[in-house]
């Protein structure tokens, strides 16, 4: 074909349109398969067992919202515990991470590089390798079956990446800002509060979100260290709840849906920090 005749152009456009629609159809189908378990979860969460037998794939008519009431009654303590553990961990990680990141990034002192390497090396230790000795330590400290055994080790685990991300971020802030502040007589405390903290807002968002997801999804540690039902986190509580309601599938699905709500909300509000966090987290080991 040397030149586009009047009939060739629409034909070519048509071909592109068909091709594009095919791609959209395939991708939508893939997305549907990926989302199907969750759609099925929400639909089934509103059915009773009879409805599940009669209309397995159908809509829940009438909807049994009481499944949610029952599931909430059995799981609400897990949400309270998780809320306490997540908030305490995030606050501690942000305070200690920001302060240490600031000190590592903007001050020179004896042993700075050595100490920073000491922190970074811990990234290489998979958490599972230290699980057994950490459990024994918590036992020796009489921390098992307390809220502290959930909070303190997860602060330690999440601080490592946080310090590195904060240091790298604060290190990239322009030196002129700090010089100017000092010319005007700002103390280091003031610099930390009025310059470093506000400027670090994006990275604070990233670290908070990554920490919250990590703590919310943590499975083995709370499974091993907590047996008191009131101290179970959602990730572990759901397992216990599963055992209690083994054949009430509607109730189970309502419980799963409730357990998903906090993370869904986090993603809805903080998803841009999540994308930034993935690229930030990826950039670190590559350096």
């Amino acid at each position: 074909m040397t030149s586009l005749s009047k009939t060739a152009r629409p034909r070519r456009n048509n071909r592109i349109r068909v091709q594009q629609s095919t791609l959209v159809a395939i991708l939508s189908f893939l997305a549907f398969i990926g989302l199907f378990p969750y759609l099925f979860m929400v639909l089934t969460s509103l059915k009773n067992n009879q409805q599940i037998v009669d209309s397995y794939w159908g809509l829940p008519i009438p909807a049994h919202f009481e499944n949610y009431v029952a599931a909430w009654d059995q799981t609400k303590n897990y949400f309270i515990t998780t809320f306490i553990v997540v908030s305490a961990t995030v606050i501690a990680v942000l305070l200690l991470g920001l302060l240490s990141g600031f000190l590592f990034a903007r001050f020179s002192f004896l042993g700075r590089n050595f100490l920073f390497t000491v922190v970074g090396l811990l990234l290489m230790v998979p958490s599972i390798a230290a699980l057994i000795p950490l459990f024994v330590l918590s036992k020796d400290l009489n921390m098992l079956n307390t809220i502290w055994v959930l909070i303190i080790p997860s602060i330690a685990a999440n601080l490592i990446l946080a310090v590195i991300l904060f240091r790298n971020f604060i290190d990239s802030i322009q030196q002129e800002l700090f010089d100017a502040a000092q010319v005007f007589g700002a103390t280091n405390t003031q610099i930390f509060r009025y310059i470093v903290t506000p400027l670090s807002f994006p990275i604070i968002g990233t670290v908070s979100l990554l920490t919250m997801i990590n703590v919310y999804n943590d499975f083995f540690w709370p499974l091993l260290t907590v047996t008191d039902d009131n101290l179970r986190t959602v990730a572990i509580g759901i397992q216990f709840f599963q055992g209690q309601n083994a054949t009430d599938y509607g109730g189970l699905m309502a419980g799963y849906t409730l357990a998903s709500v906090p993370l869904l909300l986090l993603f809805a509000f903080l998803s841009k920090y999540f994308l930034a966090g993935i690229s930030g987290g990826l950039a670190t080991p590559d350096k």
Binding site: A31, P37, Y38, F109, I132, F135, I160, I278
Partner: protein, 303 residues
């Protein structure tokens, strides 16, 4: 001059060390001490409330003869192999299709829909798949029965022949995950000029995929491989939650073996030896990949 000393002169500043003290107290007590203690206790018969005698390499010698442990390594190798082959294929194809879309809005909507499952808690996804595999009411068997394929219905997680593959197929089509994201940013960063030049030269889409996209994604594949090795240990959560390593050890993973040895068998020293081995193996593999990829990077530069 205060502002020059800030960055240039190294000196001892008590106040700075005081500021770093909370960080290092937590890391030393809850990260370094357990790691080192685990290493040293792997040479002991570690008991609670009793003397723990030093037994040298006995724990490690026992490990060599521990069939369940090596079986667990076989399983985790299979998962790793699947993780870097079939679990990359569909995300890569999806990315290729996605970037071929001309309408930005549709592209955004589909990208969000494909990544959406990431926003659900891991444990919820695991239990949902546990229900999909349920022998009586599960989605898979109900669908097979209704399609007249009842003979294909299985006790997916209860049969040693299917259990491991059932766990691997959790999250099918494996699109909502890091590989998809890394491929997508990788190909988006390449820049449209190369693709346009290829199109002008008359390269077909398939040709472009093999001759341009794949070679340009080399760095991404390497990165994903390191992450796959490190993250493979997380796969134990799935097995612990759904099968606890059964049936008949068909889904036994190193982490589950370690927990069983410690919490059911009470053999803490042996569990410490197994943990140390796991750590050393992961460390060696990731260091090896790191060094190999670093060498290649230098080659790229010299070209």
């Amino acid at each position: 001059m205060r502002f020059n000393s800030q960055r240039k002169i190294r000196r001892f500043r008590p106040i700075i060390y005081l500021g770093l003290l909370p960080l290092f107290s937590i890391l030393v007590l809850f990260a370094y001490y357990p790691a080192i203690n685990g290493l040293s206790k792997s040479f002991y018969e570690w008991k609670f409330f009793e003397a723990s005698p030093f037994i040298g390499f006995n724990n490690y010698r026992n490990m060599l003869a521990d069939d369940v442990w090596w079986e667990a390594f076989g399983h985790i190798s299979l998962v790793l192999l699947a993780g870097v082959t079939i679990m990359w294929l569909l995300p890569l194809l999806a990315v290729e299709m996605l970037i071929s879309l001309k309408n930005q809005r549709i592209q955004f909507v589909l990208r969000t829909a494909l990544l959406f499952p990431l926003a659900f808690p891991i444990i919820v996804t695991i239990y949902l798949w546990g229900f999909i595999y349920n022998p009586n009411q599960g989605v898979l068997n109900v669908a097979l029965n209704q399609l007249g394929l009842a003979s294909l219905a299985q006790n997916w997680l209860g049969d040693p022949k299917t259990a491991l593959w059932a766990l691997i197929f959790i999250n099918f089509p494996w699109i909502a995950g890091l590989p998809f994201f890394v491929f997508l940013t990788g190909l988006q960063n390449i820049g449209t000029e190369i693709f346009e030049a290829a199109a002008l030269d008359g390269a077909s889409r398939l040709k472009r995929f093999f001759l341009i996209d794949l070679p340009l994604l080399k760095k991404q594949f390497r990165l994903l491989f390191i992450l796959a090795v490190i993250n493979i240990l997380q796969f134990g959560i799935t097995a612990q939650a759904l099968t606890e390593g059964g049936p008949d050890n068909a889904t036994m993973f190193p982490i589950i073996r370690i927990l069983n040895v410690a919490f059911r068998g009470g053999d803490w020293g042996y569990a410490a030896a197994l943990s140390t081995t796991l750590f050393v193996i992961t460390f060696l593999i990731s260091t090896f990949i790191f060094l190999v990829s670093r060498g290649e990077k230098n080659n790229d530069k010299s070209l």
